[in-house]
């Protein structure tokens, strides 16, 4: 079955489906009187990478931030419609529990003013997952290894996270998010401030993490979406115009708006 609300063209195969980890139905979102999302219906598949692309202000980040109710921190917002996480309505879940299950990494790396070790240990401690001192150490090491940062920081765990490079800080933020074993990881333009080498490391990491995690990434780089994503959704003016296999979106999109955007003829 194709995602709800998205019809594949007659000559294109329907997207390969998997298990729906997140399912959005007729989701609308308002910032005050401004309607930022119009009736988004789609499924995000488990252990796949889903990318959202589109011009600035199209609603892709708003939709991403709705998936773990991060938008609720903005005053005057209103949401209606339904989002299910493994069949559970996320608006009925306890919000801190939801955000533990659906972690997030932002555009600008935001390590805490603490040591490298304490940054990663933070989530474990406040969630009561720290255990014994050795269990905490193991948890931090495991998260840093999953974030492909361990080898670079293992000898300076007690140094300030601010001493790391931009790319390392971003991977530290990913390690911090991974520490509490999220089921879904939301990445909001995670590489926009990084050089190509640091970007490649994050992209390799995304590829490795999808074995254990469902990943949703918002990116302004179409090449990045093409490189890392299994599925891609194109947003425009608060609507999801097209959602399909990444190969279809970049090789032969069904909608003219998508074609115009990916070929740079938009606007």
């Amino acid at each position: 079955m194709p995602p709800p609300g998205v019809q594949p063209s007659a000559e294109q195969p329907a997207p390969k489906t998997g298990n729906a980890k997140i399912s959005a139905t007729d989701l609308n979102f308002h910032y005050g009187s401004f309607k930022a999302l119009h009736g988004i219906s789609m499924e995000i598949y488990a252990n796949k990478v889903t990318a959202f692309i589109g011009p600035s202000g199209c609603g892709k980040s708003t939709f991403l931030r709705t998936l773990n109710r991060m938008n609720e921190t903005v005053r005057g917002t209103r949401v209606d419609g339904r989002i299910l996480l493994d069949g559970e309505n996320i608006f009925e879940l306890e919000v801190s529990g939801l955000r533990r299950r659906v972690g997030m990494v932002f555009q600008k790396s935001n390590p805490f003013p603490k040591s490298i070790f304490d940054n990663v240990a933070y989530g474990l401690r406040i969630n009561g997952m720290a255990g014994s001192r050795s269990q905490l150490r193991d948890g931090v090491e495991s998260s840093l290894r999953r974030a492909a940062l361990w080898e670079e920081v293992k000898d300076k765990l007690n140094q300030s996270a601010y001493g790391l490079s931009g790319g390392q800080q971003q991977r530290l933020c990913i390690a911090r998010a991974l520490a509490v074993n999220p089921e879904v990881l939301l990445l909001d333009e995670p590489c926009s401030a990084l050089d190509p080498i640091a970007t490649a490391k994050i992209e390799d990491l995304i590829f490795q993490l999808k074995d254990s995690c469902t990943i949703v990434i918002v990116t302004h780089s179409m090449q990045q979406a093409a490189r890392v994503a299994d599925f891609t959704g194109f947003f425009l003016l608060g609507r999801m115009i097209e959602f399909d296999d990444t190969t279809v979106i970049f090789k032969n999109p069904a909608k003219k708006e998508t074609e115009d955007y990916v070929t740079g003829r938009f606007g």
């Binding site: 294109q12 179409m222 090449q223 093409a226 970049f250 090789k251 032969n252 074609e259 990916v262 070929t263």
Partner: protein, 220 residues
């Protein structure tokens, strides 16, 4: 962006220049066989060097566009199709050269049979080449599909021609050399038709984004 659109137009223009040269070579090579026209054969040999040079230019230009512009969707399909059409056109040029060489071998002897079938096949093949290139220019998938249908007619004619030429060889061993040369001409014409079919398939990929190669049912 405008600059990239202009570069894509340049790529198409180069490809059409090559297509025009190849069409001319095919037409001249057939004239060399049917009219025993030595000048026409010489023109085919002259064209070949230019065709080879344009092939290299197109390859270089297309790879540059892929590397620097990182095209997507229809732009990507255009460049991929251009690379493949380029290879097909170059081979069609080579095949015309083969025909011109056979024409030189046939130039001095009397004909063993009236030239009826070969002009017939040649007309069909030239029409396929023209339609395939027109379909590329106008992005006309229906016209491209019509080229695919013509390929079977060429194959049938070539088979009929083969049996006729074999019978001439059986009748008189003195006919063998000329009959073999004519068989080679029909074989080369049939191969040109196959390359036209490839171009038509590339045009369908370009226009529709679907790969119709090896899927006879998708051609209907």
């Amino acid at each position: 962006m405008r600059h990239f659109v202009e570069e894509l137009e340049q790529l198409k223009t180069k490809l059409l220049e090559m297509g025009s040269l190849v069409e001319s070579s095919i037409q001249r090579s057939i004239l060399a066989v049917t009219q025993k026209d030595r000048d026409a054969a010489a023109e085919v040999f002259r064209n070949e060097a230019r065709i080879n040079a344009i092939e290299l230019e197109i390859d270089d230009f297309a790879v540059k566009l892929l590397a620097l512009q990182q095209p997507m969707a229809a732009d990507l399909r255009l460049i991929v199709a251009a690379l493949k059409i380029n290879t097909d056109l170059e081979r069609m040029g080579d095949l015309s050269e083969n025909i011109a060489q056979r024409a030189l071998a046939l130039m001095d002897g009397p004909p063993i049979k009236p030239m009826i079938d070969i002009p017939h096949i040649a007309g069909l093949v030239q029409s396929m080449v023209r339609k395939a290139l027109d379909a590329f220019v106008t992005r006309d998938a229906d016209l491209a599909r019509s080229v695919l249908a013509s390929d079977d007619a060429v194959d049938s004619l070539r088979t009929a021609c083969y049996h006729e030429l074999v019978s001439y060889m059986e009748q008189d061993p003195h006919n063998i050399q000329e009959a073999l040369a004519l068989l080679s001409v029909t074989r080369n014409l049939e191969r040109i038709a196959d390359h036209s079919t490839n171009i038509a398939e590339d045009v369908m990929f370009l226009v529709k984004g679907v790969d119709v190669r090896h899927h006879a049912e998708a051609r209907i």
